[in-house]
């Protein structure tokens, strides 16, 4: 489980938040809320270890994430504003590479199945530069299907997605929680997950 205690973070001279403490247990989902510029993305990036907190600790299963390093990263899936896909590569190549970077070797069949489930049938082998914004987001989201990470950190996962894709993401998140996974996310659109209590954290 993920435990945050007394976390403080600033960008430049501006203090975004301080004294932030919470714990996320297996099977729980938490939405980070706040106005633009309130530090939602900074919080998520701090959880990933991209930003150093000014104060406080982040621990995973009782140990500081900075000591765990790669053992912690193996448990985390981060989906940020940037899709991390290459225009020159096809959707299939992109998915296999990003899964590979996360430590999972996908064969072609598994990758194709994941892309088809994301609604990209017939576009698996096209270079991603010819795909639309929403389709590129779907390629990035296909990582959710093949990941075995326990903690999902999703920053605005629903941007550029249509209704069908949003429903699919809700289904995936529900499945992940049922498998005792953890999700922390930000969104400005409603994300409903059935039968799970949605915890929320407000940054002001």
């Amino acid at each position: 489980m993920l435990e945050i205690s007394n976390l403080a973070c600033s960008r430049g001279d501006h203090r975004l938040f301080s004294g932030l403490s919470f714990a996320l247990h297996p099977g729980q989902i938490m939405q980070v809320q706040g106005a633009n510029g309130s530090g939602k993305t900074s919080l998520l990036r701090t959880l990933c270890g991209f930003l150093m907190p000014d104060e406080g600790t982040i621990s995973w299963c009782g140990r500081d994430t900075r000591d765990l390093d790669e053992d912690y990263y193996a448990e985390v899936l981060y989906l940020g504003h940037l899709n991390a896909i290459k225009d020159e590569l096809s959707a299939l190549e992109n998915l296999r590479i990003s899964a590979g970077l996360a430590g999972i070797e996908l064969d072609e069949k598994e990758a194709l199945a994941a892309l088809r489930r994301m609604g990209l049938r017939g576009r698996e082998k096209l270079p991603t530069k010819v795909l639309s914004q929403g389709q590129r987001r779907r390629v990035a989201l296909a990582r959710l299907l093949v990941s075995d990470a326990r903690l999902w950190i999703l920053d605005e996962p629903l941007t550029a997605l249509d209704v069908g894709a949003v429903a699919l993401i809700q289904e995936l998140v529900a499945g992940h929680l049922a498998r005792q996974g953890m999700v922390i996310f930000t969104t400005h659109q409603p994300l409903q997950v059935a039968e799970v209590e949605m915890r929320s954290l407000s940054l002001s």
């Binding site: 990933c48 270890g49 991209f50 930003l51 150093m52 790669e70 053992d71 990263y73 193996a74 985390v76 899936l77 981060y78 940020g80 504003h81 940037l82 899709n83 991390a84 896909i85 290459k86 020159e88 590569l89 190549e93 590479i97 990003s98 590979g100 970077l101 996360a102 430590g103 999972i104 070797e105 996908l106 598994e110 093949v146 075995d148």
Partner: protein, 227 residues
């Protein structure tokens, strides 16, 4: 689904960067064409005095190699930084240094190795002896990976900066001076009838030192640049 190993990940990064380089062939060719152009301008500018050309050959080839390796350094991490791949690399369950090493290796294969292969052809314009050409190639083979690796540190430090390209050259070029000295020194030694072994050994030592230290330093620099 299988778990990938450390070497599997290294191979993945190298293969990915090579595939990307092949799909953006213009980038690869500019480095090589720049090298060929710069080296070819000297015999035209200096005139066809064989003695003079022979004396300056090693220096010209090495300086040109140094400058053309600077050209492609800016792109080493910037594309991955801009599209978010670098974030995912930092979250890889294996050491970031290893991934960085993979990127360095791919960078050398794309921008260093072609120079090494082209150098003997260009050396002929300067009337270099076969022996001198041989030493030049061995020297470049040992030295160009060092250029890629030292350059990677600079590229990581200047990531995301405006006008980072010039700053990058200012940072990296002074650090490359030892490579230049030993590389040209080796060719000089052979041309004057001495053994090039000492110079080449020192180049080899630089290579080993870079192999051990630069991936880690670059990984730290990347983490700083991501903040």
């Amino acid at each position: 689904m299988k778990k990938s190993t450390l070497l599997g990940l290294l191979a993945l990064v190298i293969r990915r960067d090579l595939v990307l380089a092949m799909r953006r062939r213009a980038d690869v060719l500019t480095t090589l064409i720049f090298f060929v152009m710069v080296v070819s301008l000297f015999p035209l500018g200096v005139g066809p005095e064989m003695d003079m050309l022979r004396k300056m050959a090693a220096g010209v080839l090495w300086v040109a190699a140094l400058l053309s390796s600077m050209l492609s350094l800016g792109r080493l991490f910037s594309a991955d930084y801009l599209d978010g791949t670098l974030e995912q690399m930092m979250l890889a369950p294996q050491s970031l240094s290893m991934l960085v090493f993979g990127k360095m290796a791919a960078h050398w294969m794309v921008s260093g190795l072609p120079l090494v292969l082209m150098a003997p052809v260009l050396g002929l314009q300067f009337d270099m002896s076969a022996q001198a050409l041989g030493v030049l190639v061995i020297g470049l083979l040992l030295g160009t990976p060092v250029l890629s690796m030292i350059g990677a540190i600079g590229a990581a430090l200047t990531l995301g900066l405006r006008g980072g390209g010039v700053l990058l050259s200012l940072l990296v070029l002074p650090l490359c001076i030892p490579v230049l000295i030993f590389g040209t020194g080796a060719v000089e030694a052979v041309s004057t009838g001495l053994s090039a072994v000492s110079h080449l050994s020192l180049l080899g030592a630089l290579l080993v030192l870079s192999l051990v230290s630069t991936p880690w330093v670059t990984a730290q620099a990347l983490r700083i640049s991501m903040e």
